[in-house]
């Protein structure tokens, strides 16, 4: 099914946080398939399609940099906010940043650039007039124009991504010539299953290209 697309994404920094190094963030070496899917979702997504990432080409050498930021330790309390909304009064709803400071260091990727090869498949929610060609056209148009629902990001929202569509007849930029075993990488999170388990796969980079297994592949550890 040749409803595949190729998208070049790049940015100044990227942080694809490893799940175990979530507090003092440490990025994976390359973009995760779930982050790539997130970029595609930002450009075009409807409940009737689901994006599946096929391969990732790494265009720039993998470099890291460490930055330190002052953040806070708590999240906005959803329950309290709801009850404040019902009450109609803001009393007690506050976050005093100075009492909740957490200094966290992040090790981020410097000037990452990737080509995402992906395709989409129709889901059960596809209606009668939904077909692949239509969605592909919409995506190509939006990507060429630079249209998106929200700015795509490289891992975390503060690292914005720029994107550019690579048409089927255009030549692909050259990937780096490194080959490495990247260890177990996050494939995606199974939001449908109970407890939202994370799914992992063994990522191998060959000449700068990482092949991502399809969703029903046995390579994905679940």
């Amino acid at each position: 099914m040749s409803y595949g697309i190729r998208l070049k994404v790049w940015g100044d920094y990227g942080c694809f946080t490893r799940p175990e190094m979530k507090v003092e963030r440490f990025s994976y070496d390359v973009i995760t398939p779930s982050a790539a899917r997130g970029i595609l979702d930002a450009i075009h997504w409807k409940p009737s399609i689901i994006w599946v990432v096929d391969a990732i080409h790494v265009l720039e050498p993998i470099r890291f940099q460490s930055i330190r930021r002052n953040e806070v330790g708590s999240k906005a309390p959803a329950g309290k906010i709801k009850s404040a909304m019902k009450r109609g009064d803001l009393g007690g709803l506050q976050l005093l940043v100075d009492e909740d400071r957490q200094q966290r260091a992040s090790t981020v990727l410097v000037k990452p650039a990737y080509i995402i090869e992906a395709h989409f498949e129709m889901t059960a929610k596809a209606g009668a007039d939904d077909n692949e060609g239509k969605h592909l056209d919409i995506f190509n148009r939006r990507a060429a124009k630079g249209q998106c629902f929200h700015q795509p990001c490289l891992g975390t929202r503060e690292f914005a991504a720029s994107f550019e569509l690579i048409t089927p007849d255009a030549e692909l930029p050259q990937a780096i010539s490194e080959s490495r075993d990247l260890g177990f990488m996050l494939w995606d999170i199974d939001h449908q299953a109970k407890d939202r388990p994370s799914l992992f796969f063994r990522a191998m980079m060959e000449n700068g290209i990482v092949r991502v297994p399809p969703p029903d592949s046995p390579e994905i550890r679940r």
Binding site: R18, P19, E20, M21, K22, V23, E24, F26, R63, F64, Q65, S66, R68, E71, V72, G73, S74, K75, Q102, Q103, R104, A105, T107, D181, L182, G183, F184, L186, I189, D195, R196, P197, S198, L199, F200, R202, R221, R222
Partner: protein, 579 residues
């Protein structure tokens, strides 16, 4: 491979790794028990003399992670749990002691083992007053205590070494089985660790241990997961990586080095142990030669010399070039957490090449007093008052990463050194070396190693000129001046030459005329030097700019250093010639 995966692999290769469920802890005292449960002897397990008594590392069942609650360890703990006494006030010593007794009486319910029954009797009849009655030593308070049967003590069998005790411990630690998930380190379906064991030994972190993987606050959790579910790591993998890391961080292990605020551990992965140890020895000599002085054999010293001269590792020691994977991990403390400053994995050959690049960048003639100083000495040059704790925080980690991977140096290095020079006026070999290295690698400029009379870069020439003016002043007025032109004008001459050099030129004219009347030969040499430098300047090319960029300030410092050391060289040569 990821950090945790490579640590788990290192654990598998540790020669004497603690088995699952055990860890090495600092134990102070041993209490041996008679068969009826009374105390037979109290033995001090600490090494050393007087105030410097260090508790011994003993393999004991893994301690529970305690933060604010009361939870006893199995078969050992500190005195407030075990005996109910502490040195200080101890607000809840009684509860802690009661918890210890209760936990063990439940644990040992129905056991038939003789040794464990002795322990039960001890627990049932011990009261904290007995501490005074038996006149047990005061320094025992707040130490960790282990137990042994008097009959087995001389065979060095502790209570927790008994087979029955081991079985009970294995069952107890295994019973808290959580739901299995895919472990992100091994990729297999295993029970997931809720809390990871603590890492001890990182400089600056809490003494009770810090966590590499932790999710103790709301902002750190995602998707409603709690604690360890945020990052599923199996119990076995969590035990393996923390044990390996703790072993590497131990005092006196040949795997750790302190660089700035980053405790750095390094380990090699090779087919045979000798290659791995050789690589680790060499690496620690790259970073800090003095640390390995006692252990450095002639062979390592020779290899090091050849490597520093630029020989390819293939020729020096071919076994280390391929087939040795090397890992370096820099950990810095952040409250109760550990932050990873850098992680490098690659072949030992690539590390050696990057080290050689670093040495070549730093090379200066004349070299600093010890030709290849350790990294911390360089870092001290960037700190206020030269104190290690004032080194800018991220700098050590970023610099180490740049050295190991051959990437450009952090520019903070350059700005820190320039600021220090402006503050205390000390242009020494270490600082000039750092600046030169940054210039070569980051700005891709060529910079001379020794004095280069042909170089006509503006910054370099003005630096040499400044050194010449300083020497002229010294020759005219003697060495006992309170403030030379360097003390007063170095900062402004290097940053804004146009303001300053006119004044310096007229001052030097006066100095030169004085020298001419005292010693014509000296005058001729100095005058020739100054004209030689000025000859290289091109009037059309703005030889005295209004301000210098950072790169040109570096070349100014370099020129100053080279020229000034020329004068010292000359004086030693003339004294030698005179002799």
């Amino acid at each position: 491979m990821s950090i945790l995966a490579s640590l788990v692999r290192a654990y598998d290769r540790l020669p004497d790794a603690p088995p699952f469920g055990f860890s090495s802890e600092k134990i102070g005292f041993l209490i041996s028990l008679n068969d009826d449960g009374t105390v037979a002897h109290v033995i001090d397990l600490r090494d050393g003399e007087g105030k410097k008594k260090q508790p011994r590392m003993v393999l004991v069942p893994q301690p529970v992670k305690r933060t604010a609650g009361i939870s006893p360890n199995t078969f050992w703990d500190k005195t407030s749990y075990v005996l109910g006494v502490t040195a200080g006030e101890g607000k809840r010593t009684a509860e802690e002691h009661a918890a210890f007794i209760k936990y063990h009486l439940e644990l040992l319910e129905g056991t038939g083992d003789a040794g464990l029954l002795v322990f039960r009797r001890f627990l049932s009849q011990w009261t904290s007053e007995q501490f005074q009655l038996l006149a047990l030593p005061e320094e025992m308070k707040d130490q960790n205590i282990i137990f042994a049967l008097e009959s087995e003590r001389l065979n060095r069998i502790m209570l927790h070494d008994r087979p029955a005790a081991k079985t009970i411990w294995a069952n107890a630690s295994g019973s808290a089985a959580s739901a299995t998930q895919i472990c992100l380190v091994t990729g297999e379906q295993r029970p997931v660790a809720r809390l990871h064991p603590s890492i001890k030994g990182v400089w600056g972190a809490q003494s009770s241990g810090a966590a590499l993987v932790s999710f103790n606050l709301d902002a750190f959790t995602s998707y409603g997961h709690e604690q360890g579910d945020n990052a599923p790591v199996s119990e076995a993998a969590a035990f393996a990586y923390t044990t390996a890391l703790n072993r590497f961080l131990e005092k006196g292990s040949k795997h750790r080095i302190q660089i700035g605020d980053a405790s750095t551990v390094f380990w090699a992965d090779a087919e045979n142990i000798e290659d791995a140890e050789a690589a680790e020895n060499l690496f620690s000599c790259f970073i800090d030669p003095q640390a390995e002085d006692a252990a450095a054999t002639k062979k390592v010293g020779l290899q090091l010399e050849r490597i520093r001269q630029g020989e390819h590792l293939d020729e020096v020691e071919p076994a280390l070039e391929k087939g040795v994977d090397f890992y370096v991990l820099g950990l810095a403390p952040n409250a109760a957490r550990l932050s990873i400053r850098f992680f490098f994995e690659g072949s030992f050959g690539s590390i050696t090449r990057n080290y050689q690049q670093f040495v070549a960048d730093m090379r200066l003639d004349p070299p600093p007093r010890d030709v290849y100083p350790p990294l911390w000495r360089y870092l001290r040059e960037t700190a206020v008052l030269g104190k290690s704790e004032n080194v800018p925080p991220n700098l050590a980690g970023e610099w180490m990463r740049a050295i190991l991977s051959g990437t450009p140096y952090p520019l903070t290095l350059l700005s820190a050194v320039l600021m220090r020079i402006r503050a205390d006026g000390d242009v020494n070999a270490l600082r000039v070396g750092i600046m030169k290295a940054v210039l070569i690698r980051n700005f891709k400029r060529e910079a001379p190693v020794a004095l280069d009379p042909e170089d006509n870069n503006k910054g370099y020439l003005l630096g040499r000129l400044f050194a010449a003016y300083e020497e002229t002043q010294r020759a005219a007025l003697g060495s006992k001046i309170n403030a030379t032109i360097k003390d007063k004008f170095y900062g402004s001459a290097s940053a804004q030459p146009r303001k300053v050099f006119a004044m310096l030129e007229s001052g030097s004219a006066n100095h030169l005329s004085k020298i001419r009347k005292q010693s014509t030969g000296r005058y001729v040499n100095l005058d020739r030097l100054i004209t030689g430098i000025m000859e290289k300047m091109n009037p059309a090319d703005d030889p005295f700019p209004a301000s210098f960029s950072a790169e040109e300030q570096v070349l100014f410092g370099l020129g100053y250093y080279h020229q000034r050391n020329e004068f010292f060289k000359k004086t030693t040569e003339t004294t030698e010639a005179a002799q």
